[in-house]
Assembly symmetry: C3
Homo-oligomer: 655 residues x 3
């Protein structure tokens, strides 16, 4: 199968979404000049061009794209060609209102924005296939073409009638019989037993709490329907260009797609990444997404979109201070990105995103933004050959699963304060701040390569996943798990005892009497730390060691942290510093060492292949010890044992 | 008429909702063993069993219920049989979409939750009657059957077309002519005059403020339609079993039902009660509901649902600390409950409420929850014969009326900070903390048995209610009223002068110049206390005594508390301690004494018949003086003059 | 053309909305007695009388109105007759559901409130025209009639199908061709190119951000459709009574109407004004609206509605302390009002606004409210001849434009913290607190009469407006502009460089690198002040003087205030005191002096013609220096050089 290396060929891809249809053609030539000047070697064309390509049903207008493809080729800039199916032209919704999604409350999502397509609409799929077919036929052989980009940020839900019909089909495939569905959904509760497939619906606005498994299956269905849309287009372009890789861009930790499943169907895993420049933990958020994307890609991946400056969808949208765009771009490369791309090349003057930055901002060539992009382009050019296609290793896996997230998010849960992405982030942060490199893994993945596996929270686990964990520990692995793990099965059926008995045995829990969720802002004292979000009333099996107990309150003296052999269980979420210390200790015991020892606060070290990236996320310059002799690929200077990094400074050290 | 005593026969009913259709039949036998062990003597079957009983329209599947009824009978456990009409099977909504409620915004409430039935749907009512008829015919003679439970927590609203048609009928019955309706609704304002009945609608989404009387009548109509649904089913089961009592379970202080009116149609008044275990005033909230339910029942009542541990519908759902379930259960008994039941027997593993606790929690028999249930069952068995059917007396009535609440809640009111349930709660709390036993009464009830009547806030009063209050005071009664009382009549028409002239004369108010609502968190200084929520610019009639004046600000020197003979008027809401002192003083003057004098903080005393319940709501053990010699029915020990209660401890003292 | 002077004839109009159809006719005579007693000389009849006038389609009931018109005439009270079209009778919506507006989410706005009419409905317009025609024909010649009042507070939006059809027509008129529309809307972005007019829709609920220019045009369209409704009715009454002035009442700074445009079509500009009596800046809010209304009227104007006491649509609705109604009424007269009117004469006992005060409150004749109204009526009678028709001059103009506001409010903007009305208010406040009289002007108005022009924020400016500003400065004017000015053109297309190049040259900005919006509550230190809301990364052209620089942070040393000749640019919003100092300095340099020097805090001075109003907004009495000899028109006393004002006191001084 083709892959990212087919597009990079030893260079880091540098560029971004290019939407020249917004500009007069004279601007295109100015664009090319600036691109060349900035080292841009890849642009993505056509992401939102459907109405331009097919201004009326069945018509085609390819002339402008022909000229663009040729222009790019002429200047040695590779083209990632997108299928334009994320935003159908107005005529599609007008002629076929059934192609528009309908929300939970029965509201139609009209055109005038984007992504106003129902994943379930046969008409939409037919039109999407037709334009994809024609694009692939026309440009499959074009020398500028390096890669296919299908749709954009798949993210629509649909509760409408056609979606309901497809949902029924999906359920029929999943369950075979209504009896099996009734059993899985627990419809004996609240008199929800279905006697006919036709009675089954998407989980629409209801009087009170909805059936949790129906909602869970609806999320699975949504991910699968979007995947069907992707696969249909992928298969078309693949038929025309079997030698070219295909991708679609994820949004980070997006709830709507099971990205583990999706990644299997992508030649290149790509992601859009927009940490808030004002967020003191922005670099960690980025690291999390980078680690997860690399894990999904099982190797180098593509940063499909980032912003050179501000975005325009937050409450307040901050620009990037000088140096931050470079820092975060190199951080992505350090964590395995072989492509550093942006939305978008030239900031729009019109439309809903005209305050979203571009590589060329409103200030133009003179603007600080473009000047920094240009510097970065040169630097990426300098290091590409040394880093592309090389891997980032890790002895630690963080387990993550969308289905578990979905199941645990039901409105009828015990605590609305427990937010899965926040818990996941807290655990990743603890490891990141301890300079411990991490991968992410699915709970059913082979974990044998890891010395330490952590489970921030896997509320729902299949039997296979549970057996996988048991077998991992049995074979000598070290496992640390947070609370609310193993509570339910794949149908969101609570395991007897409130937690799977095998896991209880693993951690040494005889009886889990009650869960004691904590209020917002509440903390509970424990031996040596403070717990947040959650606590539990546990009776041990007598074999487990109470590594820390709750102090005071109703749970005084009961276990907060249990340890039994190589398995640990945390019945609360320790505050950041303490979770870091705890996981660092577990890592040390498991034989995993930090990337570098003794790093100053705010400095991150990442090893990619044999190259060592050292990144200063602080706003002050700082001295860093790096034992050994290196050449800094950015500066060409030699570095021995110590270097000084300016604010937002980066060194890319080759031994 | 049959009543609660027909079911209790000297025992306190102990048990709960039992939904065995969620479990394999082998679990049923385990259930029976645990029930017997825990002293369970009553279970409620069939609350949400419609889809099981009638899996397809017109089909019946009674076999499983036959077996259950027999099983219960065999083990001496009485059955409260529910009509399953609170959650119609999916086929009903599928075949008859007009049975689904429609909300104010036009959104359909789909199946997949519960209570997705329109109270106005003729089709729904026909199907509900049919299943009720068949249930009654089949089980009316079953020896296990002790009581009927109709539907569950009636609470749906409906703004749809069939509801609109019934609303028009209801209005025609209420008003006779459109002229009368136009007069009552004040449709001369904003050009709302109706010229044809067909023009009258449910108060749907509007551009701006809705007609207040239309909204008020819609609330009355809703309560009446739900009552019609109840009566229809009640009459069916009563026809089959005239000797068995019938109930439906209220939700505490629920806005949708005029429970005074409903209680008249129930043989047993029952309620569901779920105070937050974390709420420091949880016990008072419970006491309020218990006092109100007892007052509606005019004697013993049934605690139909409580939780042995956490519920699952709050933001954060806390379990009950050890002892609290027992404490609050015995508090209910002290206040007149002859039945202590739970939702539900065995915690569900599936469905929307699987994190709502059960008497048997996920932890099962070993779990603390079940163990405490078992202890409680034994204790209730010990005291049942001494307390059932006995009454709790009170010299004080708190007046409460749903219609007044509804009228005062219009979006066009002067202050959104004035929340009727909170005001009612504040007044009840003042009396509760002063250890003064209270009943609730409707403003048109005979009040002559009470020495003190308090009116926290009765914004809208009929002429009959006003005359009732005047007559009460005339005959020597002591009356204390809060602000916003007597402002409007039954049509929400403001009384001339902003307050009924008879009440103004009663309290000594010549002119009520302006209302001065206070901002959130604002307090106003008064002689001897601080007022919250409200203040008023009052001119007295020269006869009233200004018991306290406002100090400072625009109202400096104007009356905050007026007193004229046995009538007092509070133009603000004193802070908790001061309202308590004020009401305690009024009670003392009226000759009402606390249940016990000198109780420590957090200790409650309740007299039921000749039995004295002493309850420690605190988390520390405490010594309590109880003058006299008693036997503690729980322990069998003698108590003379003093006893010590552990945290959450209870003594049930018989002289 | 007729104007306000035709109705005032030397008197200040005093009175209000009179809705006697809510009362028995005996009350009318009581009303007249109280009106005469209070000096009422003008009432508005019929605002919400449609259902009374036309109880069934096509029927007419004018008898009651005949009697009222005669009664008013008999007692010398002029009548402002309203067309009743703001609240159609229930039968209209019932017979023609298409006359009801539909909101963005597809929800119908039902009758039962008010303003439930679609501006786009042909049926509504036809019925509105018919009743207007009949009213005008019947009462055009009535001697009581002094003025026409069309509809009331035009404020409905409509996203429905008929509105969509009219929107398409409106767009066709605006753009001529679809190509022009596509260019203006920037539909090349996100594949929104329209190929057929029928595809164009109102901007309904969408998946993500909507097209900004579509939303902007929809706002323009809404204002224009409402104006069409107004014009249609105005033209009818004008045909009958060409000698009588016509008005419709604005709401202050209401987003839905381009009041500059509307004012051109009104013979009298009138406004409804309801500052919060609790707001410490209530008087400034009032002053802003008064200044703006006077500027729209280009002379005397009409205060159509105010409240004698509380309103009923805030969260908490406070009454007016003694004296405040008088103070704020005289403030309006000082700023050019020749009519001081209320909603409403007699407080309603029923309906949605029964807690909105009236001139006669629930407390009636004895109530403080009426007594104060009566005093005020007498005082207005005393000063009317001296002030009506005279003008208030100002050397300063604040520029304001609805289209710019609309464009800048798109959901995709950089900062949700920047709220245009708040920015406008902050600038007006600075001038008001500096005792600098201000007008408002449209950016394309002739500004030559002003010595100082300030631009709080004009995000979108036409070329004509930009040239107007340039020419103003060229001709010696002093200009001070806030940030986010000149960013976009009339289609919300960002100007190259992020700010119009001509304005950049004017202020001395070579490159605007990035916008740095601030978080809520954040402040940035600058030389001599603290900035809020916003900051910018600016490179000067070398000619501009950096009047103040940012201190610390990423922008350290960069310009916060630029000055180039007579033009100043503020890249942030200084805190209140500092903005006041800055604008006072600019005014002084431009030769504009405060109305009075050395005024104590809380005292306002306004000059109208030769009459000087001095108003004490404080709650303490205060001595004020007023150099010169005057007669106080309210008291008849002479004042020389100094006077003492009680709390809320006012002096109306004639030299």
């Amino acid at each position: 199968m083709p892959g990212l290396a087919d597009a990079t060929r030893g260079r880091i891809l540098f560029g971004g979404d290019y939407n020249p249809e917004q500009w007069p053609e004279e601007t295109w030539h100015e664009d090319v000049r600036l691109m060349k000047d900035a080292g841009v070697n890849s642009v993505t064309l056509g992401v939102f061009s459907w109405a331009r390509l097919e201004p009326r049903p069945g018509e085609r207008d390819f002339g402008w794209l022909d000229r663009l493809m040729d222009l790019m080729h002429e200047h040695g800039i590779g083209v990632v060609l997108a299928t334009p199916t994320a935003s159908p032209p107005p005529w599609l919704g007008h002629l076929h209102p059934d192609t528009l999604p309908v929300d939970e409350d029965g509201r139609t999502e009209w055109w005038g924005g984007r992504q106003h397509f129902s994943h379930s609409s046969a008409v939409y799929r037919r039109h999407a296939a037709a334009i994809t077919e024609d694009l692939a036929a026309r440009y499959g052989g074009h020398p500028a073409l390096t890669m296919w980009h299908i749709n954009n940020e798949y993210c629509t839900f649909d509760w409408g009638d056609e979606a309901a019909a497809r949902f029924r089909d999906w359920l029929r495939r999943r369950y075979g019989t209504l009896d099996a569905l009734n059993a899985a959904w627990g419809t004996a509760f609240w008199s929800q037993g279905y006697g006919d497939w036709a009675e089954v619906h998407t989980p629409r606005h209801a009087h009170y709490l909805k059936n949790p498994t129906q909602v869970l299956d609806f999320r699975r269905f949504t991910s699968d329907m979007l995947l069907e849309c992707y696969l249909a287009e992928r298969d078309i372009v693949r038929r025309h260009t079997p030698h070219l890789p295909v991708t679609t861009n994820f949004m980070p930790l997006w709830t709507g797609q099971d990205a583990w499943r999706w990644a299997e169907e992508e030649d290149i895993v790509s992601v859009d990444l927009y940490p808030d420049p004002r967020d003191p933990l922005g670099a960690q958020q980025a690291a999390l997404v980078q680690d997860m994307t690399r894990s999904q890609a099982r190797g180098p991946w593509m940063l499909m979109e980032q912003a050179a400056g501000p975005v325009n969808w937050r409450g307040v949208n901050h620009p990037k201070p000088a140096g931050l765009n470079r820092l975060w771009s190199l951080q992505a490369v350090a964590r395995g990105a072989d492509a550093v791309c942006y939305f978008q090349w030239r900031q729009s003057r019109q439309g809903a995103e005209k305050f979203h930055s571009g590589m060329v901002s409103h200030a133009g060539e003179r603007g600080r933004t473009y000047q920094e992009v240009k510097r970065l382009g040169a630097e990426l050019g300098r290091i590409g050959a040394e880093v592309t296609e090389s891997h980032t290793g890790s002895g630690i896996a963080i387990l993550h699963d969308w289905h578990s997230w979905w199941a645990g998010a039901h409105e009828g849960r015990l605590s609305g304060e427990v937010d899965y992405p926040q818990v996941l982030t807290a655990w990743h942060r603890a490891l990141w701040e301890a300079h411990l490199a991490t991968d992410f893994a699915h709970p059913e993945h082979d974990l044998s390569a890891y010395k330490l596996v952590v489970v921030p929270q896997l509320y729902a686990l299949t039997d296979a996943a549970i057996e996988n964990l048991l077998s991992y520990v049995r074979q000598g692995g070290t496992l640390v798990s947070g609370f609310l793990t193993g509570v339910a099965d794949q149908d969101d059926r609570v395991r007897p005892g409130g937690m799977d008995v095998r896991l209880r045995e693993l951690f040494g829990i005889r009886t889990l009497h009650e869960w004691w969720p904590l209020d917002a802002g509440e903390a509970v004292e424990c031996d040596g730390f403070r717990g947040t979000l959650w606590s539990e009333e546990i009776e041990t099996d007598g074999e487990a060691v109470v590594a820390a107990a709750f102090k005071g309150g109703e749970l005084d003296g009961l276990p907060a942290v249990l340890r039994k052999g190589r398995a640990r269980y945390l019945a609360t979420l320790p505050e950041a510093d303490q979770l870091r210390a705890m996981l660092a200790e577990s890592a040390a015991e498991a034989g995993v060492r930090p990337v570098l020892e003794g790093l100053p606060a705010g400095v991150e070290a990442v090893r990619r292949g044999e190259v060592l990236f050292v990144l200063n996320h602080g706003r002050e310059s700082v001295a860093v010890r790096v034992p050994g002799a290196f050449r800094d690929l950015l500066t060409g200077m030699n570095v021995t044992d110590e270097l000084t990094l300016d604010r937002y400074g980066v060194a890319v050290l080759k031994p």
